[in-house]
């Protein structure tokens, strides 16, 4: 799909540069369609290391709560942290965390079919997104605080508290209008 990241005010969906507004709608749709829509907050928001980080953490919790409120029975939103980037031996516990060296384990184990990375350093986010893309059929979204990610299927850039809240608004707005993929056998666990 080539590598050309969105400029400020833009996002990309499947490599096509779009106005940011369109990406909110698509991301919200993907969340509401998914059987296990999942948020993966990373170290930059898990740790209260500056004022913005803690506020983003609050917004992420709000987005997660919104997802829980807006999905239909049978859909199970998850909130799983990427607390660090170290290779863990012998392996991670995929129920409680995701790791950039083998993010596919967490996707497979929890049958996650749509996920969003936020607060992960760009390099490690890209490693994760590449491995997920290569080994699962999970839909990937990046809410990136910098320039965005071509390895995600949908990517925002310049993430802020406002943008996270706006995404939550879109989820609420589309509640009940999106048919979930509940009957589909296809999930993150398949390839």
């Amino acid at each position: 799909m080539g590598i050309y990241l969105p400029n400020p005010g833009e996002a990309h969906i499947n490599g096509v540069i779009v106005p940011e507004e369109k990406a909110y709608e698509e991301a919200a749709k993907q969340f509401l369609m998914a059987k296990v829509p999942t948020l993966f907050p990373g170290p930059l928001v898990l740790w209260d290391w500056n004022e913005k980080a803690a506020k983003k953490a609050t917004a992420i919790r709000h987005l997660y709560n919104t997802l829980k409120e807006c999905v239909q029975p049978g859909q199970t939103p998850m909130l799983i942290p990427m607390p660090d980037y170290r290779p863990k031996y012998p392996k991670i516990n995929p129920e409680v965390e995701i790791n950039p060296n083998h993010p596919n384990l967490t996707i497979w184990h929890n049958k996650i079919d749509c996920c969003m990375f936020i607060g992960v350093h760009c390099h490690q986010a890209n490693l994760s997104l590449k491995i997920i893309r290569g080994g699962t059929s999970c839909y990937t979204i990046a809410m990136c605080a910098q320039a965005g990610h071509e390895d995600a299927m949908l990517s925002f850039r310049d993430a802020s508290v406002e943008k996270i809240m706006k995404l939550a608004e879109w989820v609420r707005k589309l509640k009940g209008t999106v048919q979930p993929r509940l009957t589909s056998a296809k999930s993150g666990a398949s390839n």
Binding site: L46, P81, V96
Partner: protein, 301 residues
């Protein structure tokens, strides 16, 4: 980073793995009198390790991390070898880049931190094996000392290349038969502590890691002196039990045997005059503090 900034965002606290919740709750960041006695009743800065069962390096790691005077503002530098398999688990920022360049990395790092954080304490501690320190990296080890770079160099001396399978190293004792020394090593163990003294190190200690209290003392001294005066060097015997044919429970005894006064790891210490003065100053301050605390306790009672 102040201890206060090592905290988890409140709204996501519940989803953090328990080892991080423990780290924030009970690790000894910011504790002034931290030391080896905290092990067992606080969260250690090492979460797990992938060393061999019973490896004395794991003991050394635990004692050192418990003894760093200022872990919340310490960055460590490692090198390739067994230690680099432990470092990902250490809750202090640390760098591995190439084999043997650890003292060069630390030189650049220390200077960058001094430029970026003037007037603030930022300790740099190098921890590498004997191959990295004495063989492939010797030039950079010595040059950092010549330049009086203000960081501590710790060498885990296991007298061979352990991670690659037990090859001869410069710190191996003469006559030892190993890979790449098929008829036994033909030259003496390199006398790095003496070289360190002559190269400008202000505090040099050679010992084993059999006694945690000793490790606490020498690590603290080395870091404080390097912070204020100049380079310091610790050479710690951490035998590779695997390669010297010992069992996993025999590491401690091996160290005790090797630290006897006539043995090659008999305690050795060099301290420069300015470092002596600093240590005396620190001891006096410590004494004052203890006396004040005693007085306060007495008043309270």
């Amino acid at each position: 980073m102040s201890k206060e900034r090592i905290k988890i965002s409140e709204d996501l606290y519940d989803i953090m793995p328990s080892d991080y919740q423990d780290l924030v709750k009970s690790a000894t960041y910011g504790k002034e009198d931290r030391g080896w006695k905290d092990i067992g009743n606080s969260k250690e800065l090492i979460e797990q390790h992938s060393l061999c069962a019973g490896c004395p390096e794991s003991m050394a790691f635990r004692y050192i991390l418990a003894s760093l005077p200022n872990p919340e503002d310490t960055v460590m530098v490692g090198s390739t070898g067994c230690t680099s398999l432990v470092f990902p688990m250490v809750a202090v920022h640390n760098i591995h880049s190439l084999f043997g360049n650890q003292n060069a990395i630390a030189s650049g790092l220390k200077r960058a931190l001094s430029v970026r954080f003037p007037g603030r304490t930022k300790d740099v501690v190098v921890l590498a094996g004997d191959g990295a320190t004495v063989d492939i990296g010797l030039d950079m080890t010595l040059q950092a000392w010549f330049r009086q770079e203000k960081f501590t160099t710790i060498c885990f001396d296991n007298e061979l290349y352990a991670n690659t399978g037990g090859q001869e190293s410069g710190l191996m004792q003469k006559g030892f038969v190993a890979k790449m020394a098929p008829v036994g090593k033909l030259f003496d163990k390199v006398r790095l502590p003496e070289i360190a003294r002559e190269s400008g190190c202000h505090y040099v200690v050679q010992c084993t890691v059999s006694k945690p209290s000793l490790i606490e003392k020498v690590v603290r001294n080395a870091v404080m002196i390097s912070r204020e005066i100049g380079p310091t060097y610790l050479q710690l015997y951490t035998p590779c039990i695997l390669e010297i044919g010992k069992n996993s429970m025999e590491g401690l005894q091996e160290m005790r045997d090797s630290e006897k006064p006539t043995e090659r790891f008999a305690y050795k210490e060099f301290i420069s005059e300015p470092a002596k003065e600093l240590l005396a100053e620190l001891a006096a301050k410590d004494k004052e503090k203890k006396a004040a605390a005693k007085q306060l306790a007495a008043q309270g009672a």
